[in-house]
Symmetry: C2
Subunit: 132 residues, 2 copies
DNA sequence: CAATTGATGTAATAACATTACATTTGTTAT
DNA sequence: ATAACAAATGTAATGTTATTACATCAATTG
């Protein structure tokens, strides 16, 4: 159920993100793809839009940047909220899932009759290497 | 321990945010304050920076916008993570705190020896009124 | 093969945020 | 009071992120 068939631009953008060891902004991706014919931001944003839809890429709201999903083969990605620990120093991102957190937030929104569509959880700080 | 003494610009920005029934972008705030002599974005950003520091205002990362703290008199604001339920339709924001969620995220980052500095939790969706 | 749909290319512009530098105001020490 | 310092402000320019508008191209289908 994985291995989405990607178009040329989607494939290029996904490759760049997969190889990166840090989140990348749309414009950084654009620069990396100039050699492959990319000329305008929209080419990147359109590919990202689809990749986000496919669950292959995540957007980090606190960074205005994007990362390839760390668990692309894990269905969990699609059934729970994704949370991120983001190092402010080296940019390393740890992606995780916690159903207890999900349940707790769920309980809250249900109590408010709020209909959740998308949840963002991002922890900014220092990774073990950088904090040492 | 509340009632921070604000400067003129800080006070103006805080007033605008307090009266608003929705999050506001820095540029929207700027427009509201033209009559009071505001001319440049930096005047707003500088005031916001201090207000964020004082815990009187929150930044919504998924919206690039700002809201006055809903619980200014509650010390809880300063000792736990603030979470938001944001209506995509009417813009209403529900601010809440949940120590169980905090503890759970804490446990995760501790297990990774990650040193958390700031945590963002934002639930986008539809409020009870708009979902009906 | 016409019609539709999805993807792409390109330019322009909008929206959000920061850097740099000059000036003013407020506070503290003497 | 005033010198010295720190904090806040004013202004312009620029940098960064994201979208709108419009034209073209490619794949699919009736």
């Amino acid at each position: 159920m994985n291995a989405q068939q990607l178009t040329k631009n989607q494939g290029l953008v996904f490759d760049v993100l997969s190889r990166a060891d840090q989140p990348m902004s749309a414009y950084t991706i654009l620069d990396k793809l100039r050699d492959h014919g990319f000329r305008a931001p929209l080419q990147v944003y359109r590919a990202l839009e689809k990749l986000l839809e496919f669950g292959m890429v995540h957007r980090l709201e606190s960074l205005n940047a994007f990362v390839a999903c760390a668990h692309p083969n894990d269905n969990c990605c699609r059934h729970g909220t994704v949370a991120f620990a983001i190092c402010n120093s080296c940019g390393h991102v740890e992606e995780f899932h916690d159903h207890a957190v999900d349940d707790r937030l769920d309980a809250f929104v249900k109590s408010k009759r709020f209909k959740a569509e998308k949840t963002t959880i991002e922890i900014r700080g220092l990774c073990s290497a950088c904090a040492a």
